[in-house]
């Protein structure tokens, strides 16, 4: 599974939308039910799923799912 697919699976669970399809452009503004509680849950679950920790500065500026995917890929690559 690609990083995007794994994040999509997390969004489906957290938002309870089993049929949800996301793209790199999806964001809290475009996806139904992505409120502040869901946002924290999404970040926390992504951290668990990929076994990475996000530094504060980098998660504050995320604009959409694409940037989250890139951040995860960078963190996973940095772990080696």
């Amino acid at each position: 599974m690609t990083t995007l697919e794994r994040i999509q699976a997390i969004l489906r669970d957290v938002l309870n939308e089993p049929g949800l399809e996301i793209t790199r452009d999806s964001s809290a503004q475009t996806v139904r039910g992505w409120d502040s509680l869901a946002h924290v849950d999404i970040l926390w679950n992504v951290e668990q799923e990929f076994k990475v920790r996000f530094p504060l500065g980098e998660i504050q500026n995320l604009k959409n799912v694409g940037e989250l995917v890139d951040l995860v890929d960078r963190k996973v690559a940095a772990k080696g």
Binding site: I10, V14, N16, G33, V40, W44, Q60
Partner: protein
């Protein structure tokens, strides 16, 4: 393949899988709400930090206990302002429970670097009075409200290193000191309870408890994981407030209370005692179970064994549990779920009061499938872990220890002696006379408020209305003159049954409406309900009441009292399609006593 409801809900069974729960909050809430819990409870969450995570977890874990919460959440960080100042929204909400979600992040008055004993004491009393003001105001505004206050987790940072724990200026010492003062406040205040996040945070470990990213980014004073653990722990406390705790631990024997199979290996070869590490771990589990028994949890055995082998095992010279520690022993070759149902019946308690511990996953599964109300923790097969898993389930959470708890197992043993005697008499009346019963039937008094609350919230069978009250609400009833309130204690020649019945009625004009009528099933068929009615009638009459109204609301468990009011001389007035019935009784000029066999002191 779609997962079934019970598979999805599985993550909420002990040991609770918080990681999965945090991924599936929404579907969990949806499925649990569909089960349509009847008991609602208004919880105000007064936060010193973001509260949404705790609220969501608490909601799920309360729904899991068949309690549907409604929430008020304070503005971010305004736990004290929301209470101390005008707040029509909170007033209108009228919380039954106020939970103050504060942590060491909310401490302001840390002692200064050079602080000595006096300054540290002053800092402690300054913080204490800040919180005390909130508790007192809550009590003043909402006399029936129960307050749950966090104590403090140890500070995440210790700039002075070990000195923080060894000097008056130290933060560790300060937090410990404050926690001690909070504990003292709670010990002297029946409507204030401490949620021990100092222990909870230690149990999770610093790493899982606090993460600066979530603090600075989202003002979460605990990680999402830790917030879920707080929600679970709170749900255990609130469950206990409403009597949703378990009463009886049902135990397997072989490889659960000792290592090996007593029937095959023989008592001499069982692993139990001090000889080996494995033997010690089984002994430690027995000791833990014995401690549970001492604080009032009933014990039962459900084992596939010959009864003689089971008893031999329980008489193992190095064991601490003995056959007489168990209220029921079912050792035979019948399916375990049938034996467990028989245990519930013998003890006169509901299946939802039972916890079953068995090392065998197949047996656990069979019991879970056949008796979903029984709590079956995924206890594993390592005896060294049994106590931890059982304890963290929170299924035996208590908010206070009443003297009744300490004696419970004895009541059931006395009952066996009574049953033997009953068989020896020609008529039931003769048997009742031979018991030489004495009852004390009096208005609520402070020493019994704990027990009255406990009995009110856990009695399911002999209970006409199944209304639940917190201790603060019971206290309120005890002081407001519009209520008539009675408790009953019953003694006989075999022993003291303790406080076993509660009746509450509300007077309006010349009418008394009975809100609560309940009794412990351990004194069924002794005529105690008639004695209670005699006293109620006399007191009502003295206060100018002419008409008494009783109601019966059917539940899955209280069919035994469907005709109670009829038997006491009431006439049925109405019955609706749900089976709710209303009864009335006109107090005559010369009431005729119903009770015959019990000597009453009022």
């Amino acid at each position: 393949m779609l997962a079934t409801t019970s598979e999805i809900l599985r993550c909420l069974e002990p040991p609770v899988d918080i990681t999965t729960m945090l991924r599936k909050r929404r579907v969990l809430k949806e499925l649990l709400s569909e089960q349509n819990p009847q008991l609602t409870c208004r919880v105000a969450i007064l936060g010193g930090s973001t509260t949404a995570e705790v609220r969501s977890a608490l909601e799920i874990f309360l729904l899991r206990r068949s309690i549907r919460p409604e929430f008020y959440e304070s503005e971010y960080g305004r736990f004290s302002e929301d209470v101390l100042f005008e707040n029509p929204e909170l007033d209108k909400f009228e919380p039954q429970i106020a939970y103050i979600h504060t942590t060491s992040r909310n401490l302001r008055a840390f002692p200064s670097l050079g602080a000595g004993a006096d300054e540290a004491a002053a800092a402690t009393s300054e913080e204490l009075s800040r919180f005390r003001a909130v508790w007192e105001k809550l009590h003043e505004k909402f006399p029936r409200c129960t307050v749950i206050q966090n104590n403090f987790d140890l500070p995440a940072l210790r700039p002075l290193g070990n000195l923080e724990a060894g000097s008056h200026a130290g933060r560790v010492m300060f937090v410990n000191r404050l926690n001690f003062e909070f504990a003292r406040a709670a010990a002297g205040n029946p409507s204030l309870y401490i949620q021990d996040i100092q222990s909870l945070s230690a149990e999770l470990g610093a790493e899982k408890w606090f993460d600066p990213t979530y603090w600075f980014g989202y003002k979460l004073a605990a990680t999402p994981y830790a917030c879920a653990a707080i929600g679970l722990n709170l749900a255990n406390m609130i469950g206990a407030l409403y009597g949703r705790t378990r009463k009886c631990l049902v135990l397997d024997l072989d490889n659960t209370l000792w290592g090996g199979v007593v029937g095959d290996d023989g008592v001499a070869n069982l692993k139990l005692g001090r000889e080996t590490a494995a033997a010690e771990s089984y002994l430690a589990f027995q000791q833990y179970v014995k401690d549970l028994k001492q604080r009032g949890i009933l014990l039962a055995v459900c084992s596939k064994n010959e009864e003689s082998s089971a008893l031999e095992g329980l008489n193992h010279p190095d064991g601490v549990l003995r056959p007489e520690d168990f209220s029921v022993i079912r050792a035979n070759w019948e399916p375990k779920h049938e034996n467990i149902a028989a245990i519930a019946k013998a003890l006169n308690i509901g299946l939802d009061s039972l916890v079953f511990v068995d090392d065998n996953p197949v047996e656990r599964d069979i019991v879970r499938r056949n008796l979903p109300q029984v709590l079956v923790p995924e206890i594993g097969s390592d005896p060294a872990q049994f106590t931890t898993i059982l304890e963290r389930s929170g299924c035996f959470e208590v908010l206070s220890i009443s003297s009744d708890d300490l004696q419970r197992a004895r009541y059931y043993q006395d009952n066996k002696a009574r049953e033997d005697l009953e068989a020896a008499f020609g008529s039931y009346d003769e048997f009742l006379d031979s018991l030489q019963m004495e009852a004390e039937i009096r208005p609520f008094s402070p020493v019994y408020l704990d027990r009255i609350t406990q009995l009110t919230n856990k009695t399911n069978q002999f209970n006409c209305t199944t209304r639940r009250y917190t201790q603060a609400e019971i206290e309120q009833i005890a002081i407001e003159p519009r209520y008539i309130h009675l408790y009953g204690r019953l003694k006989d020649r075999f022993g003291d049954n303790g406080l076993i019945s509660v009746v509450v009625g509300e007077i309006e004009g010349d009418t008394l409406r009975i809100l609560l009528w309940l009794m412990s099933c351990r004194v069924l068929k002794r005529g105690m309900e008639e004695a209670m009615m005699d006293t109620l009638e006399r007191q009502a009459r003295n206060r100018g009441v002419r008409l008494v109204i009783g109601e019966y609301f059917p539940t899955a468990k209280n069919a035994m009292v469907a005709q109670l009011y009829g038997q006491l001389g009431f006439g049925k007035v109405s019955e609706d399609s749900a089976g709710n019935t209303v009864w009335q009784y006109r107090i005559p000029a010369e009431p005729t006593p119903r009770n015959r066999a019990i000597r009453i002191s009022e």
